[in-house]
């Protein structure tokens, strides 16, 4: 009896202890709800497009601060937002604060996406091994390369000497030294040459697999931009000639609507940050934050449409420049006037009488009210309330942000020629006059550098800091020293963000 009792106890005990130790292999279970990259089936080559779409997704989603930071220092535009984001306004006046959050944030936004494009290239490379059509893999890699090129170009324009990344691993930066701006631009030009053979000779809007995606001409455009920064004008002329000679691109006839819904994937555009509400009144939406650039107070034609934040104000200098030229199409498209702003223009005895079309009502019927943050807002970044998809109210939603357009290509081409380069694709006069014609202006002949730059100022004002880069490149510091500002060469680039200097000692060394 007693023995039996013991036996039961011991057997139970043994079973329990054995049972507990039988589950050791459970410790090797991987983390749940995670897709491990190493488990990706690279033989499924139809998935090869996924990393590329991922790169486009990162490229399309930009922080609102990126664009104003890149663009605000030109004489075409002021900080606006008076009394708020004071260091943004200070930056507009060339007083830099490396502790200011926008510097760090923009730096991170751009570099994070650059690493993502590297990662996409690396992933596609792995698919390529199994791809029956390696040309497709090469094309995708080339596309990611072009996206990376645009991002790195923006970084170097703002900060000058920056890191040239080589892989998707950010820790590479810890041992890397910054490259000079010229090295960066030469690198970009070379990168585009590498990408070119693999890219389709299409207009972005002709692409079916990735509508609006990168093509050969996007790469050529970035190559031209990089060479322009290098003042290698023949390089600019060669790249732009190829774009022009393709005959693929034309200027959108309706300049006003180029920057609205009808201008989405226009035949003028070589690169766009794409947005969409998919035609639905609610639900999924991919948007670019235009609100930062919009007017703070308005009475929209369609009630309930959101206003903006007022952080981007076309300068009086630019408006007067346009008035002097008798511009209507481009001025009306580029500037949203307020009554206060109009009154401010009229304070100058030269402009006491203004054309009747200058009013605080936009051509689309939205009324811009006075607000104390700014006198004007950007028209190129404004979407009329009647173009919003019914049900949507977010300012500028469903509108694309144009990154590179054909008008810029034409004017780069013209400038390169007047700077001494040669091309058989198109003359400088023809390039400038094509742009002028759309703006309703008469032809010029024998254009000078000054005329080309004025045309650029008029055509591309408020876009991507193009004006600032041009003036810096041409050493026209007096142009940047406007409305009380004082610019000098040492102010060309922003100081590195303190947060990055703390993380990357080499950056600190480069700064000093």
């Amino acid at each position: 009896m007693k023995l039996r009792k013991y036996t039961i106890k011991m057997v139970a005990l043994g079973a329990v202890l054995f049972g507990a130790s039988a589950c050791h292999d459970l410790l090797d279970e991987p983390k749940e709800n995670t897709s491990f990259t190493e488990e990706t089936d690279y033989t499924k080559t139809e998935d090869m497009i996924l990393p590329l779409i991922g790169a486009y997704a990162e490229f399309n989603s930009r922080g609102w601060e990126d664009f104003p930071l890149m663009s605000v220092r030109g004489d075409d535009v002021n900080a606006g937002g008076l009394g708020d984001q004071q260091d943004f306004a200070e930056m507009d006046k060339f007083n830099y604060n490396k502790d200011f959050w926008m510097y760090n944030s923009t730096w991170q936004n751009l570099y994070a996406d650059i690493f993502d494009t590297h990662s996409a290239m690396e992933q596609i490379e792995l698919y390529k091994e199994f791809a029956s059509n390696t040309a497709k893999a090469d094309q995708y890699i080339a596309e990611a390369k072009v996206l990376r090129g645009w991002l790195l170009l923006q970084l170097s324009r703002v900060w000058g000497d920056v890191f040239i990344t080589t892989s998707s691993d950010p820790s590479d930066l810890l041992v890397l030294d910054v490259a000079s701006k010229d090295e960066v631009m030469q690198h970009l030009s070379d990168q585009m040459d590498e990408a070119l053979p693999y890219l389709p000779a299409l207009r972005p809007n002709e692409r079916v697999d990735i509508p609006g995606g990168v093509t050969k001409y996007t790469a050529l455009a970035i190559k031209a931009l990089a060479n322009q920064e290098l003042k290698n004008y023949q390089g600019v002329a060669d790249a732009t000639s190829q774009i022009i000679s393709s005959g693929k691109f034309s200027l959108e006839a309706d300049f006003y609507n180029l920057f609205k819904i009808p201008g989405k994937l226009s035949s003028e555009n070589l690169l766009e940050l794409q947005a969409s509400d998919f035609g639905q009144s609610s639900g999924d939406m991919v948007y670019y934050e235009f609100a930062a650039l919009g007017p703070q107070g308005w009475s929209p034609k369609v009630k309930g449409a959101d206003g903006g934040w007022g952080f981007y104000e076309p300068s009086l200098k630019w408006i007067k420049f346009m008035l002097d030229r008798g511009e209507e199409t481009r001025l009306e498209t580029s500037v949203l006037f307020t009554d206060r702003g109009i009154a401010e223009i009229k304070k100058d005895p030269k402009y006491t009488s203004l054309p009747a079309w200058i009013s605080n009502t936009t051509p689309s019927g939205d009324v811009i009210n006075d607000f104390s943050r700014a006198m004007f807002s950007s028209g190129k970044h404004y979407l009329p309330s009647d173009q919003l998809t019914p049900g949507r109210t977010r300012y500028g939603s469903n509108k694309n942000m144009i990154a590179i357009r054909y008008a810029e290509i034409l004017l780069m081409h013209a400038e390169a020629l007047v700077q001494g380069a040669s091309s058989s694709a198109m003359t400088a006069d023809a390039a400038v006059n094509t742009v002028r014609a759309r703006a309703g202006l008469s032809n010029l002949s024998g254009v000078t550098l000054e005329q080309v730059m004025d045309e650029k100022f008029a055509e591309l004002g408020m876009e991507w800091g193009i004006r600032y880069s041009d003036m810096v490149r041409l050493g026209k510091y007096d142009e940047l020293s406007y409305e009380g500002r004082s610019f000098s060469e040492k102010l060309t680039f922003l100081p590195y963000p303190q947060n990055q200097v703390d993380l990357l000692p080499n950056l600190g060394a480069a700064q000093k």
């Binding site: 009792k5 013991y6 106890k9 139970a12 005990l13 329990v16 507990a20 589950c23 050791h24 459970l26 410790l27 279970e29 983390k31 709800n33 897709s35 491990f36 990259t37 996924l50 779409i53 991922g54 790169a55 486009y56 997704a57 399309n60 008076l82 009394g83 708020d84 984001q85 004071q86 260091d87 200070e90 007083n95 200011f100 959050w101 760090n104 994070a112 690493f115 996409a120 992933q123 950010p170 820790s171 509508p211 794409q274 969409s276 998919f278 639905q280 639900g283 991919v286 449409a305 959101d306 206003g307 007022g310 104390s372 109210t393 303190q498 947060n499 990055q500 200097v501 703390d502 993380l503």
Partner: protein
């Protein structure tokens, strides 16, 4: 009633007496009072047969003449009486003074307090019940030396608990201690009602906690729920209170006049224009026509006095074979934020232990907790801080607004609408929290009283159902919500633990030992599903379902799920050896396997030794010292609260639009975490003593705790993201002292005084070659540097304020930076005559380096009075509410800042001018924004009156106690905020901690 009671006793006192013996009767009374004691166990020595006394203290038992009867009752000394041919044996039991025989739970068993070689603090239910709070841990504030409790005022939210500093880089709750409720592991115990708890023990040092190995690095808190006792008469207890919470130390904000002055001095035309716009819209004040005729005190508008109540009913008792404890409780608390902000919890519990045979015991314990929490909209607090005082709550001119005509700051020129009532009125956040803790065990006595085996299975099932409703409204163009959104989120946690423990207890001569060995298997599963609907019928709450929403437009990207599954296997063992009650040796070893990290196994040993000096012969002469033990211990612990590491590169799905088509793509992160165990090593030395006839007790400890391979969030350069890496060594060290004095002056008057202090030094010892690791946000930098506290605030030191132009001209720094009077002078730390990033220094840490608590108890006749006090010093708080002026200066500020601003030479040398406040130079993180967080507080005052056995209108009143409590009635601090209790030291929107006044009733029958 008496009969009913007797019936209860009868049912549960299963007696089995068969042998031919004499019937013995008698009565048991308490020696000091002469009152009869019901429920005393009367057992024949050496057998298991016996009985218990009835309600009048009488018993009947059959026993042989040679038998010895053992009388025992909790809290009283046991007495053995030989039968010796008697048939009537009356016994008086005396109060037990032998505190040394107290036992304490130590994890997978218990030990005698006098045998401990480690540092354990226990707080019992009487002490816990004094604090009217939904969370039992709140009651521990100031009670346990070395434990920091940071309260949260929001209903249903748990306080932050830190045992002996933090050894782990703060993140996803990985600094919190492990809670073990009757054997089950928990991250917090907010589902328990204070009245469910019998005791809370804090295992502070490694030696005590190491038996929990991998989970123990941040300390272990053991919770025993209430259980019945053998041979105890049934006791029915009602315990309840009702009270009110009143906001304390409400921060004074700048009023309309002060705000206007600040705006006028700001130098910003926009700020000035906005004042005029407010005057145009709302008129000019008649008292001061230069100020708008509005003066809104936003805090006053959004707060209310809110009720709090708790009611619990429980029954406990036991026979010699079975014990039981059952109870139910209700807790309800409304928040002091004037919105649907409340917490209600209904609990049921039952615990039954049954001795099935003389070698087999089985038991079960079940706690069901059903709570509903309506969360606050926390942004209301910061909005109330920032909303300008020159705007009213309601604005009749705002005719476009619906459903309520709230005012919007947009109408007077500001960018945002600011009115906190949008957040308060148009959000509804409901969380249903249901938790079941089930726990069953079987215990086999393999060799009676010596070798036993216990297997226990615990299951904690938690279901969280969250419903977040954002209602549509329009106040102004950019202050509206067009689409009503409804977010539902269901989460379940299913955690299981299966423990098997073998315990061997024996002695030989002067040697006594307990040896324990066991295994534990853990399985933790988590599941989550969330989805969002838009545009559902907002006016009917019954239609707040995704199925009732606009189904064609459910955002696909808002549908998400998640889950995790983790396994753990552990082997552990403990030896506790005692020689002659003088020399104590203790050791445990635990091996833990976890699926969470790439390194699967961790080993956690500990050793301890104690010397009971007072047992030595040479101590006999010293009468003052009743008991003195010195002890030392060392142990290693693990921390697996660190988030699971991926161990490999992962791929995520992203979506974008290309040609107005929604595309899905993937991004692959090349940086990933691969983690080892975070290991903590701790050495503790201490002493325990009782002096002056045990009236004074002293506990003192000194510890050094090093966390190696600390998983620290390392920023990935240039990307804004970060990754966990084992790259640091963090040391916490400190001294703890607890003193308690008890005395009885007369039979009617007794008192107790207690105090505890603790120091803490938190220091980063090593960063594996890196000079520092940055944390916090880029604008509010927290830096971990070798030799400094973890996550110290890092910035510029303000040396003063420029007073005049001469001073500016004399200082090259001021000239170089275009400074003007009213701007800060920063200390040039390296003396290079310029202020740059090299001049940044550590500005302080959010860890208090000194904490203290004190309590006083007074009993006079039927009155009981108690009071307690807590405090801390040495910690800093980042006043981020002020600091956020860097994002926008559109906002209001606290009155202190407005009144003390620099506004002319000699006005102040520590505050900036209004214009300076808007300048980047003065917005750098500096000592101006980092403030002293010291405070002290009267934690609790309670007055109780006992109506024991009083006659009331001719009937005898039951054991009844009425209490009046004031909880946290007074807090004293200098910090310019609402509340100095900020867990992570960054004050952005802290819930104010209210004072609570309650009246309570406790009835036992």
């Amino acid at each position: 009633m008496k009969k009913l009671m007797f019936l209860f006793c009868f049912i549960f006192s299963v007696t089995s007496v068969f042998s031919q013996q004499n019937a013995i009767t008698g009565n048991v009374t308490e020696a000091s009072t002469g009152e009869p004691i019901p429920g005393v166990s009367v057992i024949i020595k050496g057998t298991t047969s016996g009985t218990i006394t009835d309600f009048d203290g009488n018993y009947t038992i059959k026993a042989a003449n040679t038998d010895v009867l053992v009388f025992s009752f909790v809290g009283l000394s046991s007495k053995e009486v030989a039968v010796s041919n008697r048939t009537v044996i009356n016994v008086q039991l005396e109060e037990s003074t032998e505190l040394v025989d107290e036992v304490v739970v130590v994890g997978y068993g218990q030990l005698k307090v006098k045998d401990l070689t480690s540092s354990i603090s226990t707080v019992n239910s009487d002490e816990l019940q004094k604090t009217p709070a939904g969370q039992a841990m709140q009651a521990l504030q100031g009670k346990v030396a070395g434990m920091q409790v940071v309260s949260s005022g929001a209903p249903g939210d748990s306080p932050t608990i830190r045992v002996r500093g933090i050894g782990s880089y703060p993140g996803s709750n990985n600094e919190a201690p492990l809670y073990v409720v009757d054997g089950m592991f928990f991250d917090n115990i907010d589902f328990l009602n204070t009245s469910d708890i019998a005791s809370i023990s804090v295992l502070k040092d490694a030696s005590a906690a190491a038996i929990y190995g991998v989970r123990a690095a941040n300390g272990v808190v053991l919770i025993e729920t209430k259980s019945g006792k053998t041979n105890q008469k049934s006791e029915i207890t009602y315990d309840g209170y009702y009270g009110m919470q009143v906001a304390q130390n409400v921060l004074k904000m700048a009023n309309a006049e002060q705000f206007t002055t600040m705006a006028m001095e700001s130098g910003s035309q926009t700020a000035i224009d906005n004042i005029y716009k407010a005057m145009q819209r709302y008129g000019r004040s008649r008292i001061n026509p230069n100020v708008p005729d509005v003066n809104t005190d936003w805090y006053d508008e959004i707060m209310r006095v809110a009720p709090i109540q708790n009611h619990s009913l429980s029954v406990a008792g036991g026979s010699d074979k079975a014990t039981y404890s059952l109870g139910t409780s209700y807790f309800g608390q409304e928040g002091i934020l004037d919105m649907k902000n409340e917490y209600e919890r209904f609990n049921l519990r039952s615990k039954v232990d049954f001795k099935a045979t003389d070698w087999f015991t089985i038991g079960g314990n079940m706690i069901f907790s059903n709570a509903t929490k309506y969360s606050q909209e926390s942004s209301a607090w910061s909005m109330a801080y920032w909303a300008v005082p020159i705007m009213p709550v309601y604005d009749e001119l705002n005719t476009d607004a619906w459903p309520t005509k709230y005012a919007s700051a947009e109408h007077i020129g500001y960018r945002g609408g600011q009115n906190p009532f949008a957040a308060i009125d148009y959000n509804n956040r409901r969380m249903k929290i249901r938790k079941v803790l089930a726990n069953f065990y079987a215990k086999v006595d393999v060799i009676p009283e010596k070798l036993s085996f216990k297997t226990s299975y615990n299951h904690n099932f938690t279901s969280l159902n969250n419903r977040d409703v954002a209602l549509p409204y329009f106040i102004s163009t950019n202050f509206k919500r067009v689409d009503a959104t409804l977010t539902k989120r269901s989460e379940t946690y299913s955690n299981q633990i299966w423990d098997n423990v073998l315990t061997y207890d024996d002695s030989y001569g002067k040697h006594k030992w307990t040896v324990m060995a066991g295994t534990s298997y853990r399985d933790e599963a988590y599941d989550m599903l969330t989805a969002q609907g838009v545009n559902f019928p907002v006016d009917q709450e019954e239609a707040w379902y995704i199925s009732q929403s606009d189904l064609a437009n459910i955002p696909t990207t808002a549908v998400r799920d998640g889950g995790s599954r983790q396994y753990g296997i552990s082997y552990f063992s403990r030896i506790s050896y005692n020689f002659n009650d003088r020399y104590l040796v203790y050791g445990t070893m635990r091996a833990d396997g976890s699926s969470k990290y790439q390194e699967k196994w961790g080993y956690f040993p500990t050793v301890g030794a104690g010397w009971v000096v007072s047992e030595e012969n040479f101590m006999e002469e010293i009468d003052v010292i009743d008991f003195l033990k010195v002890r030392a211990s060392w142990g290693r612990l693990g921390n697996d609260k660190i988030q699971a590491s991926d161990g490999a590169s992962t791929t995520n799905v992203v979506t974008t639009s290309l040609g107005d088509i929604l595309y899905s793509g993937t991004t692959t992160a090349s940086t990933f975490s691969s983690l080892k165990w975070e290991v903590t090593e701790e050495t503790n030395v201490g002493l325990s003593s009782r002096l002056f006839n045990s009236r004074l007790s002293v506990e003192a400890d000194y510890y050094i705790r090093d966390t190696e391979n600390a998983a620290i969030r390392v920023k990935i350069p240039s990307t804004g993201s970060s990754v966990l890496r084992n790259v640091g060594v963090i040391r916490n060290s400190g001294f703890e002292l607890a003193l308690n004095w008890n005395d009885e002056i007369t039979k009617d008057l007794s008192y107790s005084i207690g105090a505890n202090i603790s120091t803490l030094k938190n220091e980063v010892r090593d960063l594996y070659g890196q000079p520092y690791i940055d944390g916090g946000s880029a604008e509010f930098r927290q830096r971990s540097m070798v030799g400094e506290p973890l996550m110290a605030f890092f910035g510029y030191e303000v040396a003063g304020v420029y007073q005049n132009e001469e001073q500016i001209q004399a200082d090259p720094v001021a000239v170089a930076n275009n400074l003007v009077p009213g701007d800060f002078i920063y200390r040039d730390q390296n003396g290079d005559n310029q202020i740059n990033d090299d001049d940044r220094v550590v500005l302080g840490s959010y860890f208090p380096n000194f904490m203290y608590g004190a309590n006083l108890g007074l009993n006079y006749k039927n009155f009981e009075f108690s009071a307690s006090l807590v405090g801390q010093s040495g910690n800093k708080i980042l006043n981020r509410k002020r600091g956020e002026v860097i994002w926008t200066p559109d906002l209001n500020m606290d009155a202190d800042l407005a009144v003390n601003r620099w506004h002319g030479e000699g006005t102040t040398n520590s505050y900036p001018s209004s214009a300076a406040l808007r300048k980047g130079w003065n917005q750098k993180l500096s000592s101006f924004f980092v403030e002293d967080g010291s405070f002290w507080r009267i934690q609790n005052i309670q007055l109780a009156y006992n109506l024991n056995g009083k006659d009331f209108f001719g009937t005898k009143i039951l054991n009844t106690k009425i209490t009046f409590t004031a909880d946290r009635p007074l807090t004293v601090f200098n910090y310019n905020g609402f509340n100095p209790e900020v867990a992570n030291g960054i004050d952005r929107q802290t819930y104010p901690i209210p004072a609570t006044y309650t009246i309570g009733l406790n009835v036992k029958f």
